[in-house]
């Protein structure tokens, strides 16, 4: 993975000192709260419901074990002994003190980590596929270009105060696992006539106004990635709306101009920048790529694994095909039933670090599904990994299943929330606590967000749950049929929202409709696509007064 060199180290260290100075000027009153706010946000520091929240970047999902152990140290020393992985390759600490944050950042800088631009109206942490570099279906490893983008976007002087936040995702596989259709810029690596380049998608996003991105350029040779992004950002910086934060994302600009006009303006801007000094060189590409060379794999064959049922189940759910024979990528589930999805204790972090050191070349990744991946495990060592992970509560075999829920922190922590999300996830997990049943239901993504900001990616869940605020109480809107990947699509709302108590029943009813109607080998989504939303809708609202009946009930009351 990428190792800092002199300039990387220097900038991160200087950032810590800059932030230390900003905190002290804020404490002395020299910086007003309003002046300090965007500065602390650009360092990942929020002031939340209970305490500040610090969001640390895990650029394009890669981490080494020294970094994970440092996060464990921070969790123990400055927080309550745990951290939370988000859907965007970040770790969040929920309980640090503001005045400790410069020290925390200094500790992180020692292991080449930072919180730069993890929030605020700037270019955020670039995200990619958690299986980058090892996936069997990979065309090109996206990580070198992700690192190049990280460097370019870090402290970009022209784009530090954009109309709104700006997220870039990059993927290099046949199956898109980086949600590239729903980012401000989505880059899909491809090869055309032997040349490496990107399809450039702009203006996607979840959140309040979910929109699938549109193709601005079908093929852009890789050398032009920075100049082209500059052109897009410049058009956006100049013309994006600044009068209304809800209409300030680039997706709104692309919609307003129309994608043809938007693309025309980008191309016109790019004509000035193209082939300029920011054009990437082969030498730079090679220099960065060298950091991502394959580890020293041993020669091994794919093997027959022990057939013990519990182990076989875990293998089935938790391993991903690897491009090297005899190896596999292992997902450690952070979705133990009853725990906040994505949460990990300091002890678990240490355990994962030990496992990664012993079995996976000292590296790991985190996924936007909020799990951890050991990317290079020898199949012959899977059993040992399973046993250790199981002992640490990291081997719930629910990856890709109903209880492997993606869930934002919601109303328990987040200031913007309309409703709590963690208790809903836990209630659903409790309802579906039977593994046989869970396996019978099969592959299904259930995603929960506590408000329209959609940090829990509810729009692209097969079942999506969104917290809404109705007359000051917490309700949940359910969507069905959303999905990520190449055929990414937004879910459809099934009808009026439900109370928290109703949610496990509602999910169960939806699952029942699927089980009753499925053909052999059909996954939830296949059945849904075949029979449509109505049977689900009817069942979910069965016996529940609404519309005319509700009005009549009210009158009677």
């Amino acid at each position: 993975m990428y190792k800092y060199d002199a300039i990387d180290r220097q900038l991160v260290t200087e950032r810590v000192e800059q932030f230390r100075d900003q905190v002290s000027r804020w404490q002395s009153g020299e910086l007003t709260g309003d002046e300090f706010r965007p500065l602390r946000l650009q360092n990942g520091l929020y002031v939340q419901r209970h305490a500040p929240m610090l969001r640390v970047a895990v650029p394009y999902a890669m981490m080494n074990t020294a970094q994970l152990r440092k996060l464990a140290f921070v969790a123990r020393t400055y927080d309550k002994g745990y951290g939370h992985f988000t859907t965007r390759h970040n770790m969040q600490f929920n309980w640090p003190k503001i005045e400790d944050c410069p020290d925390i950042l200094a500790h992180l800088a020692e292991v080449e980590m930072h919180a730069i631009q993890t929030s605020g109206n700037c270019i955020r942490n670039v995200t990619t596929d958690q299986f980058a570099g090892v996936a069997a279906d990979e065309i090109i490893d996206p990580r070198p270009l992700a690192e190049i983008l990280r460097q370019w976007s870090t402290f970009h002087p022209e784009f530090a105060f954009l109309p709104r936040k700006f997220k870039i995702a990059i993927s290099g596989t046949k199956e898109d696992r980086a949600v590239t259709w729903f980012h401000d810029i989505g880059l899909q690596l491809q090869v055309l006539n032997g040349e490496i380049g990107f399809r450039v998608i702009v203006g996607g996003g979840l959140g309040r106004t979910p929109i699938r991105g549109q193709i601005v350029r079908e093929f852009l040779p890789w050398q032009h990635i920075l100049t082209y992004c500059e052109a897009i950002l410049r058009v956006y910086n100049r013309q994006g709306r600044r009068d209304n934060a809800y209409k300030a994302r680039i997706k709104i600009l692309v919609q307003a101009l129309g994608v043809e006009e938007f693309a025309k303006q980008v191309e016109a801007e790019w004509a000035h920048l193209k082939d300029g000094p920011a054009t990437l060189t082969q030498a730079e590409y090679d220099r960065i790529t060298a950091h991502f060379s394959a580890p020293a794999y041993e020669r091994a064959d794919d093997i027959e694994l022990p057939s013990e049922k519990a182990f076989a189940r875990w293998v089935h759910r938790s391993t991903h095909p690897h491009k090297v024979a005899g190896y596999t990528a292992v997902t450690l589930s952070l979705k133990q039933h009853g725990i906040a999805p994505g949460d990990i204790t300091a002890d678990q972090m240490d355990l994962v670090a030990d496992l990664a050191d012993r079995y996976s070349f000292g590296e790991l990744r985190i996924s936007h599904e909020q799990n951890i991946i050991l990317a290079d495990v020898k199949q012959s060592e899977l059993y040992a990994v399973w046993q250790a992970a199981k002992a640490g509560g990291l081997a719930t075999p629910n990856v890709g299943l109903l209880t492997g829920i993606i869930c934002c922190p919601g109303g328990d922590f987040c200031d913007l929330a309309n409703a709590k999300s963690i208790p809903i996830a836990n209630a659903i997990q409790a309802r579906f606590d039977n593994l046989d049943y869970l396996f019978d239901i099969g592959e299904i993504d259930l995603n929960i967000s506590g408000c329209m900001n959609a940090c829990g990616h509810h729009h692209v869940g097969h079942i999506g749950v969104l917290g809404v605020d109705k007359n000051d109480s917490e309700f949940y809107q359910v969507t069905l049929g959303g999905r990520q990947g190449n055929e990414a699509k937004l879910g459809k709302v099934i009808g009026p929202s439900f109370s928290a108590d109703e949610m496990p029943d509602v999910v169960e009813k939806i699952i029942k409709v699927y089980l009753e109607n499925r053909h052999p080998d059909e996954r939830f989504l296949d059945t849904f696509d075949r029979i449509g939303i109505d049977p689900f809708k009817n069942r979910a609202y069965e016996g529940r007064a609404h519309g005319k009946a509700k009005a009549a009930q009210k009158e009677a009351a």
């Binding site: 109206n121 000035h272 920011a278």
Partner: protein
């Protein structure tokens, strides 16, 4: 009064910005004597008159006034001031980049409005060379620390035409 930072020092500001009072129009406003920074609308309405009456001309651009429209006039200006109505409004960074890099403006480029310590580093990089630091802020400390937050940068910008990857030994 804002404090002008220029050439690594706090400087005396000899320029006055023409402000239109309520009811005054760019066409009819009286043009005062001295070194004047004219709002874009006044420049547009009275260009010939301004050119004939003033030896030294300044121009003020708001963030929504496109630099493209004054590209051909740049030789007239000794100062171009770009306004930051709020420091979080980042449009003027693009205006500055374009003025310097695309239109090769050589005169003084001044940041005015909500100009604060923690943006000076970025402003300098996109090509500003004078800064009307907001009233009440510590200009001495801004000079000492505000421009040197980082010792180098990855990207190209007005102040560094080559990206870091082309400057590696």
């Amino acid at each position: 009064m804002a404090q002008l930072i220029k050439n690594n020092a706090v400087a005396v500001d000899t320029w006055k910005t023409l402000e239109l009072a309520e009811g005054e129009t760019p066409e009819a406003v009286a043009l005062p004597e001295g070194d004047i920074i004219f709002p874009f609308a006044v420049w547009q309405a009275r260009k010939a008159e301004i050119i004939s009456r003033y030896k030294r001309i300044g121009l003020l651009l708001q963030p929504d006034e496109p630099v493209e429209e004054i590209a051909v006039d740049l030789d007239y200006f000794i100062v171009v001031a770009l306004n930051f109505p709020k420091f979080v409004d980042g449009r003027a960074y693009s205006s500055a980049s374009l003025l310097r890099q695309r239109y090769h403006y050589q005169g003084e480029l001044r940041a005015v409005g909500d100009v604060l310590h923690d943006q000076l580093f970025f402003m300098q990089r996109v090509g500003f060379d004078s800064y009307a630091l907001k009233d009440g802020k510590n200009a001495v400390y801004a000079l000492e620390a505000g421009f040197s937050s980082f010792s180098d940068s990855y990207q190209t910008s007005t102040s560094q035409a080559q990206p870091h990857f082309r400057r590696r030994a």
